[in-house]
Symmetry: D2
Subunit: 217 residues, 4 copies
């Protein structure tokens, strides 16, 4: 069933990728917002936001206006913005994640398991992204850090147009165990976004993670 | 409580490492067998074997003679030798593993989890060891392959004096997720052997894996 | 100055990438050949070939017909096909390389230097590509092997849609030195092709490598 | 010809490794200084120092007393200490390096070459060492940074008992080229120290790098 969707941050790298996959899948963009302003042909049935923290007020404004589900992947939100998102989940269904790839969710599951079993081992997180990435460390690196629930050092590298690499390493005396995720294209993220859009349409109000989209249908 | 132990393959790389850690931990070597022949001052309470498949008959002979527990890490055993080990487990407790590191066991747990959840992804295993390693692929790489239970390609590299690196990668369209284990010294293996020696002393007859030593005490 | 170019292997992954960059740069495709057959509006001024070894006869036929320069990146050619290319270089200028990235040429320069200075060290090459890649090992891995001029083991991994990773490692007793090249998008190859097209237009008959395009203008 | 040597920092990790290799090679330790104080049987013919910056005054004192060549690998020296070393080179021959491995010198040669040829590419350096390492970033990482002569970000990771890994990466749009050095044991450093000891004995006064030891005999 073809959808009419809105896109905040439409002119960004992720915005373009998402629009391309959504259109390829038969859905129609009816509303956009980016630094050139607003563009609208109809009211959307769902809104996708991949923009910047400073746009967040605008996102709240539009969701309150349209009263439709929101799938948001904007990274670098501060804690009061996260709280505002949770509040928004009382009026409409919201999916929020710093990373919409299946592989990253799996990486986090492994990291949690290792963290439980390898007590006394050192932990290090590192991430490499393209030179244009604004936030540092990446939202995904922070997500991984939260998963282990400890003060862990994060190293951030910026190189060329790397889509996104993340590594968590556990070091004991005599061995190092590492999990590395390489995104080979942004496509992997847009497919996670599409999964989340289809998930959120059927849902009641609430604040959902991508983990719930994947594992708790 | 200090132990009197025997060591088959005493002059090999692992043999020396094990002897060093065992002695450091207060235990006494009373029996050795290697390419120079047999050396014995007393009957051992437990035997450790890190040798070669062609020595296996000799190992069986000694265990049947001493009637003591065996901890064995010899790689490259064929299936009839493995069966003979299982039979031996009916008379004495036997621990057998191709790899006595905690990190490798954890790696295998992660690999099993990913294998269950990432259907349709490609899998590749690779391993790097020192130029002197005789078996190819490594026993540990085969252990990892068995854990995923599929026909998986194994790439084997031989470089300098690398103690041992193993990687399993899962590749989907748009992302690659890899788990890598680096042994930074052979010490990690001897500590696993010591754990297994202490485990096996209390045990009834049986054929145990290192996984059982670690998780099912 | 806008060019009229021809493209053999137009419907392949690389074919599409090249067409996209060439058109973006203001050039016009006037001739295509792929598994659907021939398409032509005009005679091309230069022909680009990224196809398969079994198409090679067809490529020779077209170049002899059009009498224009050829830039070819088809991998897996056998030695008699390579010889035929060299012969072709007597009638028209030809650029041939298994890999049109600047980074790979730099990697090869480093590998040559290490190979000269690290005598007695072990060497290993490995490469990872997307699951759809037909030749194995990759033409680029063979190019690296030729650069060191020794019998070197090549490990080939196939995972998801990895654009292409290559590593050469030198292992001494106590250390390993590795050079790794990651292609983060096929764009890097099409830019090398464009460079080669602009280079070859001014050239006399001859058989040129991409190294010559980069360093000996 | 067996040597009588002195060792400052004798009880440290590197100190022990060096003593073991020197003795194995037939040389005799006749003087030691570490946190337990001084130990001496005879005057040394050469002094090796692998200690800490706070010990540096003591090193100067001993060299001025013994009037013998110095091979020093202490990392974390400040610029006035480095200047004092250069001055010392006017009275005795001095070899100073933050890293005595052949592979690291080769890595630096490659990095210099890439730095010259890949203008406009991003550069990142990262290093991983054992949890006990005091200085951060490592002296070797700083050496690599000096070689490229630019403001480059250095990421430092501390994990288990990793002997020492260093990576320099160059990132262009579409590709990343990395050189990685893994020390698989501290032995590689002690062999470089031994080479430097043999080099420095024949030399006139002067301040030498390990690069000169390797390439400009």
């Amino acid at each position: 069933m073809p959808l009419k969707y809105g896109l905040i941050g439409a002119s960004g790298r992720m915005g373009k990728e998402i629009e391309s996959l959504m259109n390829e899948s038969g859905h129609t963009c009816v509303f956009k917002y980016d630094e050139t302003g607003e563009w609208k042909t109809e009211s959307p049935e769902v809104v996708i936001d991949f923009s910047l923290p400073q746009v967040f007020e605008q996102t709240l404004f539009y969701i309150n206006k349209f009263k439709v589900p929101l799938v948001i992947g904007t990274t670098g939100l501060n804690s009061s913005q996260i709280n505002a998102l949770k509040d928004l989940g009382k009026t409409v269904p919201v999916v929020y994640s710093s990373n919409y790839s299946v592989g990253i969710q799996m990486m986090i599951k492994c990291a949690e398991m290792l963290n439980e079993n390898l007590s006394g081992w050192d932990i290090e997180i590192s991430e490499t992204h393209h030179r244009f990435k604004i936030d540092k460390p990446s939202g995904t690196a922070l997500m991984i850090k939260n998963a282990v629930g400890k003060e862990v050092n994060i190293s951030s590298l910026r190189l060329g147009n790397v889509p996104g690499d993340h590594t968590i390493s556990f070091g004991g005396l005599g061995e190092v165990l590492s999990i590395t995720h390489h995104a080979t294209s942004r496509r992997t993220f847009s497919e996670g976004v599409l999964k989340s859009v289809l998930f959120v349409l059927d849902k009641k109000n609430g604040y959902y993670s991508f983990k719930e989209v994947l594992f708790h249908k």
